[in-house]
């Protein structure tokens, strides 16, 4: 009795495996048996080549080909320590700033007049000093830059205000 149950279980598992994973059955599975294909009816038998043409959507692993060394050098991925690419000892073409800005080179922005005062108003003044000419300088963290995707990108600005307080200029730092 146990043997009968075991045989039936194995048959059930074999059937499930055969019809669950692949869309058809072929005779190129290491056996000489030509089995029935349930998709085209019980009276049709599909063999290897024909069967393959019935499953265009079957996932097949795409072979991964490692890029040649010349292409690897063109990659933006570098492991840099103090500006030196430790993989080849050369100079890093992508610096830390470009890295943190997702490959975008952040150009310094210079704002004058009302726009500079807007940076001073909306930003957080981290430090302030006065030089000998009477101009005051400020280091301002400004959160107003809207980036793609809705996130805001803060920037540091070096601002200076004229002695009479009516004129201001701000230049963004590169960090």
């Amino acid at each position: 009795m146990k043997n009968v149950v075991l045989v039936l279980t194995m048959l059930l598992m074999g059937t499930t495996t055969a019809y669950a994973g692949s869309q058809c059955i072929n005779s190129h599975d290491g056996t000489l048996e030509a089995r029935k294909n349930m998709r085209v009816g019980p009276n049709h038998t599909l063999y290897g080549d024909i069967c393959n043409s019935w499953r265009p959507n079957v996932w097949r692993p795409v072979p991964r080909v490692a890029p040649p060394p010349t292409q690897r050098h063109g990659s933006k991925w570098q492991l840099c320590v103090n500006g030196v690419d430790i993989s080849n000892g050369g100079r890093c073409s992508v610096n830390d700033h470009t890295w943190w800005n997702h490959g975008q080179h952040a150009r310094p922005i210079t704002l004058k007049g009302p726009q500079a005062f807007d940076v001073l108003r909306r930003g957080s003044i981290l430090s302030n000093n006065r030089n000998w000419e009477g101009w005051t300088t400020y280091l301002v963290k400004y959160f107003g830059h809207q980036r793609h995707g809705g996130t805001r990108h803060s920037r540091l600005y070096n601002c200076r205000v004229s002695p009479n307080g009516n004129w201001a200029e701000c230049t963004s730092t590169t960090y």
Binding site: I125, N128, N164, G165
Partner: protein, 58 residues
């Protein structure tokens, strides 16, 4: 016209609105000069929400 405040940053570490306002100025230069006199004093623009509340109360 922007109103500038000199605040004591040591009075509140987390909430800027709780910082003690030392003095208010119309000119950022004057505020900056006063802020430099004491360590921990900072310059900031008067928050717009606070301005509106103050104007409503006047």
């Amino acid at each position: 016209m922007t109103i500038w405040q000199v605040v004591d940053a040591n009075t509140s570490k987390g909430l800027p609105s709780l910082m003690k306002v030392i003095e208010t100025f119309n000119n950022i230069q004057d505020a900056s000069a006063m802020a430099k006199s004491t360590v921990g004093w900072k310059v900031r623009a008067k928050p717009p929400a606070r301005r509106k509340k103050d104007e409503d109360n006047e």
